[in-house]
């Protein structure tokens, strides 16, 4: 059970504007109201490990049928998109670096469901899932991977550098995005628009110095920065036990309160957390009474797992066994768990979910078709966008006789 959604209080209390915003950004799911389907179901959730927090989020979560179908479709889309990327990479249609997110879909889908499109997200290089969750269509993601001009960054970014509104990538250097996240949070606070910034990093990055510098600044200035450590147990090829003196990544913030969501537990919707930290502006008035926490950063560790290796050049089995991967796939796969829960609680039927699978496959195939046939960005544009608003200048190419013009 990697993904359960709460929503009880939130949905009830959520203003009509917020609900409309959320629906608009959601994929339209056919509203078939079969008489024999339940509309919602409540799920029990294990308590999570807490650090400097007296009480944790509530132990039950409510998920509606509609939400469940949406999560299922989104996670399945990401899963198939990553598998398609794997295929295209092996066919050498995608070159360079490719870090796949399959196995971890619950994280981005759960987090995205909890925040608003006006909130901000920044993450590291394993970013395809977030790029999709933040609103970039699959065809633009795949076209970016294949380096075509239809890609979301015009083909110049590639796998690690995908961006969209309120999604700041897509960053190659490990840990470098964390101070940036705090900066975005500062801007949120400064502009007074009541937005938050989700700043994600991995278990390997958790040992970088700049992260601790960021914890300090975020706590000192009470920035609306939510640190999220996606702990998939391996920093490239090094297991967490061999890299970290303390594998309690949720405690690493020391003076920053933290909580850990374990694998056996549904990835918690941040909605709950936002309420918790007091950053959820909709509920501030009503719920800050129940959870009177001072505003400030919070750290959440998500225990998750990736099926692929670190990148496409890593087979992923030299530092872990195939049995381990199989075990996670069979016991904790987020999509399977969600499917089981929905079917067992009569929120959907297997056929309905199969239909979603078929639709997703079709969408991915079409996107892949676009990504392989779209033309590459024209060579004249190679040197563009180095500076802004500067007169055009010449950029040296791979040898002295090739020059590109750089137009701002």
């Amino acid at each position: 059970m990697r993904k359960m959604l709460l929503a009880a209080l939130s949905r009830v209390l959520q203003g009509p504007a917020a609900a409309a915003g959320r629906t608009a950004s959601r994929v339209v799911v056919a509203s078939r109201n079969y008489a024999d389907f339940a509309n919602e179901a409540t799920f029990e959730i294990k308590t999570c490990d807490l650090h400097r927090l007296e009480e944790g989020p509530p132990t039950t979560a409510l998920m509606t049928r509609e939400e469940g179908l949406h999560y299922y479709k989104t996670m399945q889309t990401i899963r198939r998109m990553e598998l398609k990327s794997d295929q295209l990479y092996k066919q050498k249609i995608i070159r360079g670096f490719c870090h796949l997110y399959d196995g971890q879909e619950a994280c981005c889908v759960g987090l995205e469901a909890a925040i608003k499109p006006t909130d901000h997200v920044i993450t590291a290089y394993r970013a395809h899932g977030f790029t999709y969750a933040r609103g970039v269509p699959v065809r633009e993601i795949l076209a970016e991977l294949t380096g075509r001009k239809g890609g979301c960054v015009k083909g110049k970014g590639g796998s690690m550098h995908m961006y969209t509104k309120n999604f700041y990538g897509g960053n190659g250097i490990v840990g470098a995005q964390v101070p940036l996240g705090a900066g975005i949070a500062l801007a949120c606070k400064y502009f007074g628009k009541n937005e938050v910034c989700l700043t994600l990093y991995g278990d390997g990055a958790a040992n970088q110095g700049q992260i601790f510098e960021t914890y300090n600044m975020a706590a000192l200035w009470k920035l609306p920065c939510i640190f999220i450590c996606e702990n998939n147990r391996y920093g490239m090829g090094t297991s967490v036990e061999r890299a970290a003196a303390s594998t309690d990544y949720y405690k690493r913030g020391d003076f920053i309160p933290g909580l850990r969501v374990s694998t056996r537990w549904p990835v918690y919707c941040l909605k709950r957390l936002l309420v918790f930290t007091g950053w959820d502006r909709v509920k501030l008035q009503t719920l800050c009474v129940i959870f009177p926490l001072p505003k400030g950063p919070i750290l959440m560790e998500l225990q998750t797992y990736r099926y692929h290796g670190h990148s496409m050049s890593d087979p992923g089995i030299s530092y872990r066994t195939r049995e381990e991967i199989q075990e996670v796939r069979s016991k904790s796969d987020p999509i399977t768990l969600l499917k089981d829960r929905m079917v067992n609680n009569n929120l959907a039927s297997i056929e309905e979910l199969k239909e979603i699978d078929v639709a997703v496959r079709k969408e991915i195939e079409e996107a892949a078709q676009f990504a392989t046939t779209d033309p590459e960005p024209p060579l004249e544009e190679l040197g563009n966008h180095i500076y802004y608003n500067e007169p055009p200048f010449e950029v040296r190419g791979p040898n002295q006789w090739i020059r590109y013009k750089s137009v701002s």
Partner: protein
């Protein structure tokens, strides 16, 4: 002596093997070096010399170099690996402000001369922003450190051993595109190639071409083309040590 066909990463492994054998205080550390390294430069060393001499560090470049400086100051020979030259920037402060200035600021009481930092360097075709950089220029103006870039396996082993033995902190950049591509007969026994000495690969009278690392091979082709098509006689020099560089050979 006896030679063996080796490519660049094998010559590096051979150099490190010789260094660890000769100097009992030598230690190698960095990200993922224990299993052999992402470019296989340290394959077999942990099994041969033990896990307290070849070990992994967590993911923290600034920490790795700072730690390496400490190891060197205390008297052991530190061979630190930065996984890609592109990641050396968090450690830039440690290198420029700590390592380079240690001997000077302590009036020669202390020094981190036993420090050598190795990093894969240069473009490789698919590296993009963060696996292709050549940052030697950033270090080329920092007195106190030495920057060395070999062009081939034979050069690499001799230069690396010289760096390790040199009593100054050295940064050794290894052209990653040549790791497998360049193959030569390399002596199995240790040998040194002097630092701060450029090598004239081809004499000429009209123009001097200076290069280092991968570009040396390109420049040699250019010189041949210039001779053939333009009748220009080129002198080709491999700088080898970027800092302090051999002004005499180049200017002569």
């Amino acid at each position: 002596g006896q030679t063996q066909k080796m490519n660049l990463f094998q010559s590096i492994t051979s150099a490190l093997d010789n260094a660890l054998a000769k100097d009992p205080s030598a230690v190698i550390f960095g990200e993922d070096v224990a299993f052999g390294g992402v470019f296989r430069c340290t394959v077999g060393l942990r099994d041969k010399y033990g896990k307290d001499r070849v070990f992994n560090t967590p993911l923290c470049e600034q920490g790795i170099v700072g730690f390496a400086i400490g190891v060197a100051v205390a008297g052991a020979t530190a061979i630190a690996e930065i996984q890609f030259a592109d990641y050396i920037f968090p450690a830039f402060d440690q290198i420029v402000n700590e390592a380079a200035k240690y001997r000077y600021r302590s009036g020669d009481l202390f020094n981190c001369g036993n420090l050598t930092i190795r990093a894969p360097w240069g473009c490789v075709g698919h590296g993009a922003l963060y696996h292709s950089q050549s940052p030697e220029a950033f270090f080329a103006h920092c007195p106190g450190i030495k920057v060395v870039i070999p062009r081939s396996p034979l050069q690499a082993k001799g230069l690396l051993l010289s760096c390790i033995e040199d009593k100054n902190p050295c940064i050794f950049f290894e052209p990653k595109i040549l790791y497998r591509a360049a193959v030569e007969q390399v002596p199995v026994e240790p040998y040194n190639i002097p630092l701060s000495q450029a090598e004239v690969l081809q004499t000429g009278s009209d123009v001097t071409l200076v290069a280092w690392g991968t570009q040396v091979h390109v420049i040699k082709e250019v010189a041949a083309m210039a001779q053939e098509k333009l009748g220009v006689s080129c002198e080709v020099i491999d700088l080898r040590t970027i800092l302090p560089w051999d002004t005499e050979t180049v200017c002569k």
